[in-house]
């Protein structure tokens, strides 16, 4: 009770308006980026990097919906990326190249997979849930590696991006960027309204105390399963986009390391704030992209050979950085933004 009283005390209104600024700035930045990209000199590179950021933003947000609001640590969410990607790839190889067919199929497949695996996984709790979702993810990964007609281990290259109602709009990188931004915004708006609805409150209540929720007449299992299915479909959509962005699908979409990265994006951004997941995805991918260069620049006092050696082994810095973030940055980036007002 005291905690609720605290959050509603004097600084609260300014806090909420301040935090609403974050998504506003975020989406404005995404909308302005293509215009600014023209001046960067490497337009194509900037666009494709930001498109990837948005796609992983969708996937991370999907995970945040169950991880942040439901405390369901799914360690197999990359499987849905793969499902979406393979739906595009497999359908395209059979001549169904239109996104209006591919996307619904991908969403249905993701929903079906989420429903079946969710129904089994949600019977377990805690660590067992982490492990069983991991196992289902691995199952799909190995299935993909053995799909010889669709490239097996090596994956398959798409002949072109998906058509939209027979037109090849998506071939244009700018159009594709806007489509991704639209999807990102759509998923964000949907997730926000889900989180704010009665459904979302039940989910949060279950996170805090499942037994109490049951005592007041809810069946937590149903809510968690529904959330899991919704989250899986969103990640499946991200998979469709990712396949189109790379024009390539492979089992590497759904390695367990990828699932781990998704969790890290969500935690890095800050659990349970949705736009935090987008920021986390952006921070993660940009760090991954630029860390080699940053290291190279920062180590200006070393010899050229050591510098390139350091840049090449950037993961040896990335790993410890991850550990330090987990140990010392509680609440992620959103937590850092929030902190000054609590002091």
């Amino acid at each position: 009770m005291t905690e609720i009283a605290e959050t509603h005390s004097a600084p609260a209104p300014s806090l909420t308006t301040r935090l609403e600024i974050v998504p506003l700035v975020l989406f404005t930045a995404f909308a302005a980026a293509p215009l600014l990209a023209a001046y960067s000199g490497a337009e194509g590179y900037v666009l494709s990097l930001l498109t990837r950021v948005m796609i992983f933003g969708i996937a991370a947000m999907a995970l945040d919906l169950i991880l942040g609001y439901g405390a369901l640590v799914s360690f197999g969410h990359a499987a849905f990326l793969g499902l979406g990607g393979y739906a595009v790839g497999i359908l395209a190889s059979h001549g169904f190249e239109d996104a209006l067919i591919q996307v619904p199929v991908a969403l249905l497949a993701s929903a079906a997979f989420a429903f079946v695996t969710g129904a089994i996984s949600l019977r377990t709790k805690g660590v067992y849930f982490i492990m069983i979702t991991l196992a289902f993810g691995q199952m799909l990964y190995f299935l993909a590696t053995s799909l010889a007609p669709y490239g097996g281990d090596d994956g398959m290259t798409l002949a072109s991006r998906s058509l939209v109602a027979g037109t090849d709009w998506l071939e244009n990188d700018f159009t594709f960027y806007w489509v991704c931004l639209l999807c990102l915004f759509g998923v964000y708006a949907l997730s926000r309204s889900i989180a704010a609805s009665r459904f979302g409150r039940v989910l949060r209540g279950t996170r805090e105390n499942a037994i109490r929720m049951e005592a007041i007449g809810f069946r937590p299992f149903r809510f968690q399963l529904a959330a899991y299915v919704i989250s899986g479909m969103m990640a499946g959509l991200a998979g469709c986009l990712l396949a189109n962005q790379a024009e390539f699908v492979s089992p590497s979409f759904m390695t367990w390391q990828r699932s781990g990265e998704l969790i890290f994006m969500v935690v890095l951004g800050g659990l349970g704030s949705l736009h935090g997941a987008i920021i986390g995805a952006a921070a993660f991918l940009l760090l991954e992209e630029f860390l080699p260069e940053i290291l190279h620049t920062l180590s200006f006092f070393l010899s050229e050979e050591t510098r390139s050696h350091l840049a090449e082994n950037w993961k040896m810095v990335f790993g410890p950085l991850l550990i330090l973030i987990v140990l010392f940055v509680r609440g992620g980036i959103m937590g850092l933004l929030r902190r000054p007002h609590h002091g």
């Binding site: 067992y128 492990m131 289902f136 691995q138 010889a148 781990g260 082994n313 990335f318």
Partner: protein, 306 residues
């Protein structure tokens, strides 16, 4: 022909299962006693393999390399515990997963940094090279038999250690209720360290043993880690007995499934389709098996915690 093939595959499965057990034993204890998810357990297996590779080029003898690798693996495990893991025991599982994920990234790149990205190979020790005839006309490599023997010996030692010694009693007590053990005046921090170091050494030993038959490469611990998790989840977290049975089951199901799934499917499908679906289904078998076990027994076959 199929009977002998089955026998050979069963032996391979047993060998694989015992290696899995060596890794899973440490993992399940760390998990059970400290309630700590250690994703970095797989890299300890990798480090064991690399250590043996490095020491065997240095000393020229596998035996000496193994003798040197074991204390090094132990020391390395304790170093990791002191540097990183100790700060994570009272964090939630999510933080533990992420921080140990960072350790994996670091060490996978670290071995690349030190030993290069190319796989290393370790020669099979002279004494254990070659094959023996175990049935008429059936040859089986001696080294694999040695792995089986070593695995069984370690399993027996672990059984005695856990069930008939004071430390073992504390470990078992810790697995079912660590807070109570601490309240009774046991130095739980030291117990954690012992369990952790021991687990790291077992994983290192497993890596060292398979180094001559597998290629030693960065990331070799990643996939086996997942299998070890499958094993401890099926066996019940914190249960050595469960880990042993589950490891053998998984080893057999995986090895035998891979070679026989296509053959079995041939009974119902035409050969081409059978071999294709067989190859697709075989690697999924253990995960389906795990899902089935958890469906009926949500906390594994031998749950320790109540």
């Amino acid at each position: 022909m199929t009977a002998t093939l089955f026998f050979v595959q069963a032996l391979n499965g047993l060998q694989f299962g015992l290696i899995l057990f060596l890794i899973a034993a440490g993992l399940t204890l760390v998990f059970g006693v400290m309630d700590f998810i250690n994703l970095a357990h797989g890299v300890q297996y990798m480090v064991g393999a690399y250590l043996v590779a490095a020491f065997s080029t240095w000393t020229g003898s596998f035996g000496w390399a193994l003798l040197l690798a074991l204390p090094s693996a132990l020391a390395f495990g304790l170093l990791l515990e002191a540097l990183v893991f100790r700060h994570l025991y009272d964090r939630d599982h999510l933080d533990q997963v992420l921080a140990t994920f960072g350790v994996i990234l670091f060490l996978n790149q670290g071995v690349k940094f030190v030993w290069g990205a190319a796989p290393l190979s370790v020669p099979v020790p002279e004494l254990l090279s070659g094959s023996v005839e175990i049935a008429n006309g059936l040859l089986y490599p001696v080294y694999r038999l040695a792995i089986i023997a070593a695995g069984l010996v370690i399993a027996a030692l672990l059984y005695v250690l856990v069930n008939h010694t004071r430390v073992g009693m504390l470990v078992r007590a810790g697995a079912s209720n660590a807070a109570m053990v601490s309240a009774l005046g046991v130095n739980i921090q030291r117990l954690f360290m012992v369990v952790f170091g021991f687990g790291a050494m077992l994983a290192g030993f497993a890596g060292a043993m398979v180094a001559p038959i597998l290629s030693v490469e960065p990331g070799m611990g990643d996939n086996i880690l997942i299998l070890a998790f499958v094993v401890i989840v099926i066996g019940g977290i914190g249960s050595i007995r469960g880990a042993f049975l589950a490891a053998l089951l998984i080893g057999l199901v995986d090895t035998v499934g891979r070679s026989f799934a296509p053959n079995l499917l041939r009974l119902v499908l035409d050969p081409a389709a059978a071999s294709q679906t067989g190859r697709a289904i075989a690697p999924m078998l253990i995960y389906i098996f795990m899902a089935a076990v958890l469906f009926f027994r949500p906390s594994g076959l031998f749950p320790v915690k109540r």
